[in-house]
Homo-oligomer: 385 residues x 4
């Protein structure tokens, strides 16, 4: 019998969550192939991961737009195949019934909200007889934290502040708090602060849960993470690297706000310098073009110098569908974190750097090295009880 695995989405009605949900249902019915699923490659499957067909979806969202309607929009935009959507509609209705209102906009205190969110998750786990529930944050990007707040410095200070009725947590971290208190692993698929706040990192260890982040590496940054090592190992000197990103959809709209974009720009930018070993000149823009919908086009221009100072260039254009790139990685991470939990890992899992722009617990940005870390983890977990 297939053991069932719960996924609790924060932002359950967003494009990535809906694509992941429909994809998981389609995988269960055998209508979807394994393309894009890293966890199906033999080197990763070696970890003895929970079956993808056993995934049960639920989650929080502040919106109340029906899952079915969102899924139709995605089908209309070419992200989801129409026939597949028709086939999983009953199961999608069931998932709809499991969604609960999110937090962050009401009058409740953060303590009250945290308790409510935690209970929602616990109730989902018990009602469905799930051994693991992995929480996945795919909600809108929040700005980075500015300055340091002593109330976020450790777990005890945080609890005291919450008990006093204060609300020091960014919303993404409030969800992380609820997840860890419910004993659930967490995937921080956005660049929001979430579990990276010191008090929460401490809480994860106290509760013995693993987590992974931050910010899914799905497109232009993915390409950078193989091109930059090429220049480095060939001793070619990168003189400038310009990165332009055009995107529509909800993510584009959020990132049109410069304070929210700051998180994303920071996570996108950090890899290049880490790989090349020196700062690199050049602009990095994210522009919102509503017309593009869920599609993303990125253009990068790299100017580099070769032997005897000769100047050369490489440019690439990536035209991808954000949700279609992100959704299988979300399912991969859910399976991997559930297994990591099972084998006793706690805190950030650096071996999952392969999936992230700003890998928590690791300074490794080169995709190939990240792949080796991932397959080593899989082998280790495969050998565990």
């Amino acid at each position: 019998m297939t053991e069932r695995l719960g996924v609790w989405f924060v932002g359950a009605r967003g494009s990535v969550a809906v694509t992941s949900t429909v994809g998981a249902l389609a995988l269960r019915t055998g209508m979807a192939g394994q393309t894009g699923l890293v966890s199906m490659l033999p080197e990763v499957a070696a970890a003895r991961l929970p079956d993808v067909a056993g995934i049960v979806v639920a989650g929080h969202d502040v919106s109340d737009e029906p899952l079915g309607k969102r899924a139709e929009s995605l089908a209309h935009a070419g992200v989801l195949p129409g026939h597949l959507l028709a086939a999983v509609r009953p199961e999608l209705e069931e998932a709809e019934a499991r969604l609960r209102p999110g937090a962050g906009h009401g009058s409740e205190t953060q303590r009250a909200a945290a308790t409510r969110l935690e209970q929602d998750i616990r109730h989902f786990r018990e009602a469905n007889g799930l051994r693991h529930v992995v929480v996945v944050d795919v909600s809108s990007t929040e700005p980075p934290l500015v300055g340091s707040d002593p109330r976020l410095a450790d777990s005890e200070a945080l609890d005291a502040a919450l008990d006093r009725g204060e609300g020091p947590l960014p919303t993404s971290s409030l969800y992380a708090y609820a997840a860890f208190r419910a004993g659930c692993p967490l995937v921080a698929f956005t660049p929001s602060p979430g579990p990276t706040v010191p008090a929460l990192a401490e809480l994860a260890r106290e509760r013995g849960v693993p987590w992974a982040g931050c910010d899914g590496k799905t497109g232009e940054t993915l390409v950078k993470s193989v091109l930059a090592p090429m220049f480095a190992t060939r001793a070619l000197k990168v003189r400038s690297w310009a990165s332009y990103n055009l995107l529509g959809g909800g993510d584009g709209r959020t990132l049109a706000d410069p304070t929210a974009a700051a998180s994303k720009l920071s996570s996108k930018g950090e890899g290049l310098e880490a790989i090349l070993g020196h700062p690199v000149d050049g602009p990095l823009h994210i522009d919102y073009v509503p017309d593009l919908g869920d599609w993303k086009t990125a253009w990068d221009h790299v100017s580099f110098e070769g032997f005897l100072g000769v100047r050369m260039s490489l440019q690439f254009t990536w035209a991808g569908c954000d949700s279609a790139l992100a959704a299988p990685l979300v399912l991969d991470l859910v399976r991997l974190l559930a297994r990591a939990h099972e084998t006793g890992r706690t805190g950030p899992v650096p071996e999952l750097a392969f999936f992230f722009k700003a890998p928590s617990g690791s300074g490794e940005h080169r995709l190939s090295e990240q792949w080796q870390m991932l397959t080593a983890l899989a082998a280790e977990m495969g050998a565990a009880a």
Copy 2:
């Protein structure tokens, strides 16, 4: 005192050889930087390689255009900095005096030619008191061998044929024969048959010399060798990969001949299937555009499929200077093969796959894995006597 290392170029008056020669002279005077030189990276330098400043250049060519004139053309085309050329002109004249007429177009038998070529190399080594001379083939690309000639099947059959006054060897293999007979390591920087003919591979082992090839991986294929693994480890399905190469210069002219281009197309094409694990549809063209001179522009278009069948694309344009990309790799290979010879390696050196489109002795085409093989070799040689 710096130990001196000889380089014997086959095609000594071509763009790659002249750029390598001027570059080596500039490195000796301290006027050139280390950009593009892989052997200067600490992970490779760990092999304890002969000093780049000790390199002495000589070689064969069928042309008699003076080195100085070729160098001026390259300076005019922006491949060589003018001031640098002025600074090394006396040493360039000395190198000119060491060049000897090539083979392949006269009335001499292959036996006579082989003996003459071998003596030229031996004389160079002795006259200059060199411990090692590495022969580097950077001459025009020859067509691939068609069918199998029993005279090329083993070393003995080959010698017998040469003794009978026959000429079964492709010109590139004739040079390889002379090199091995002179006890010299060989770099096959072109896709010509050269040392890959069975009789010569056997000869190399008999004479105890190492060699490396084939076909320097300098541009579009280099980029492919990092992008293809990205698709593979992300479980994205490459549906088609179109590769277009525009190049001018002597190499372009040679490759405008379809029989010569066959070698290059074959070496360029083999990596993709090896990395992705399945044949990939899509055209692969090399077009001669005289206007581009020593510059090369390649455009690749990759159509791939992600989760739930969504189609996406990646395209890149590489605008590079062929000689500036090739020359430092030539110097790297000379240093590495000299050291490999010293540490007792014979036959093809698979750990040098990093430098080649069609690596002899290795089926590994992924750049990152090739880099690890290279650094492991460097560590091993560094630890040798």
Copy 3:
């Protein structure tokens, strides 16, 4: 009351014809917008063209795949919107009933085939009470004619040959023969010989019918026809222009045959030299990549020289849907030729050069000048009775 206008497609089951057919039906129901329809722009509509809502479709094809099935494939490929297809399905069934078997593969003589084709067209016109029927060739590309056949030199010689039971006509010209004999204007939307054979050009004048061709200018050549004049009027010297075309679909498959591709390569190539006033170096390839389906990606690289010999470059990538680009032009041409017929034009109509890669009767390839010719024609026809 809207006057009804007949369109007779040669290749009625191909992608372009089916897209045109569904588009015409959708325009009639008001479900389609005017995007892409040049004849709806005020400067062209000034010609007092027959109403697009009055278009009735029929045609020949050698295939018997149902229109509805082809339309579904196009909807699946994103060329036709699914909801629109559903709405016009009854009318599509009616069109299906009007299709007749094509010619070229049977045992009938060309005389017999010509008579049959002509009668099909005449019957369609009468049965539907149509004032005009415009024949549109959108069938597979044929190779260019090689050498000159005296039987194709004039109308009389051709008839004599047909009467003798011979078959000197390329299939595309056989259809043109039938069209002209039926008194119908013709659009040669492919580069096949069609009406350009001397005997047929003469026949068109004898029968008093206008025609337009050849080879619809829908994509990469369209872009060239605005970029090349830019270089010319800015006195910038184009040194090389490389053109690469990737396409799937039926057209791609046909063009994968080098003899058929010769027609297309010739019509694609002629404009550049005409505009720039000198031959231009550089490859021109059309490559069949089945994976791309009805989509076409072209990459052009232009190397040019500016003041004092400085080298610069422009490159562009065009990603278009062939049928979606061609279909509205087909409808435009049908309306324009019907009106031209009405106003007494016969023979090739050079003012329709705007629509073609190899404009019959005109040496003008610059899009802007072609636009002025077109709008002048529209004004002239608008002023006619």
Copy 4:
């Protein structure tokens, strides 16, 4: 005998002025070809323009870096051929001797500065026996004017303000004031306010001098001005148009300041909406990448819709050398304005829109139509006395 024509550069030591100066000298010696010179095309030369070989250069600049040194930097960067620079060095020294200190940074009043600048220009004209001196502003871009200053509203108010010792003029307009007072035509090659201030436009008419502007159309905007009409006349709906510009050099540094860039962004942006007839979504960035020096790379991505709502895209990359593109246009404009002056034109010359991003006196942005306006002007001037 060749009649001599004076050019007075504002910003005489900048890249564009130095390239123009060296180019003019090289044309005089016959060492430079006519590539890039629009005024040498027969349709424009028909205007009977003053001989390019008779051009004498002088000008103002606030910098005192020697012309020769700037020219060497440009030669090093590949903008000027080294051998050509060597050949014109004596004449360059003569030009150096004619340069005078610019205005805008000292303690003198604007009245005093204006008088000084005017006298410099008058003295140049007389000392060299020149019939015409055309002033060309190629200095750093200034921010646009904000609000309206009554002192700039008319010529009288302006003079009164200057007489009171006030300084209401932007620096570019101060130069325009001096030019017009000296009776000289003016080319506003930058987007700075210059002659567009109402008081100055009035002054030009009072003094009977023609002028042309603003902001030379040299690269990405040039390409837009042929692509946008293509979409318009093909009835294709442009949904978004993203424009990214990477540039180094002095111009890049100036434009890295957002207030200065505002002028440029405004002149770059206005054409698209004018041509397409509706606002177009999409970002427009200019980014300073010092590494690129005098070279400019622009990438544009156009998303458009065709028949039945199908989405397609066009993207282009322009890699150009700013000064090499601008310099010949500067020489063209000098010749055309001198002739326009001679034939009695005053005020802005709309027929010179061909050369500018924000054409003064004209709303026409389509290159082809601008070309026709230009050639009509040339024909008219050719027929004048």
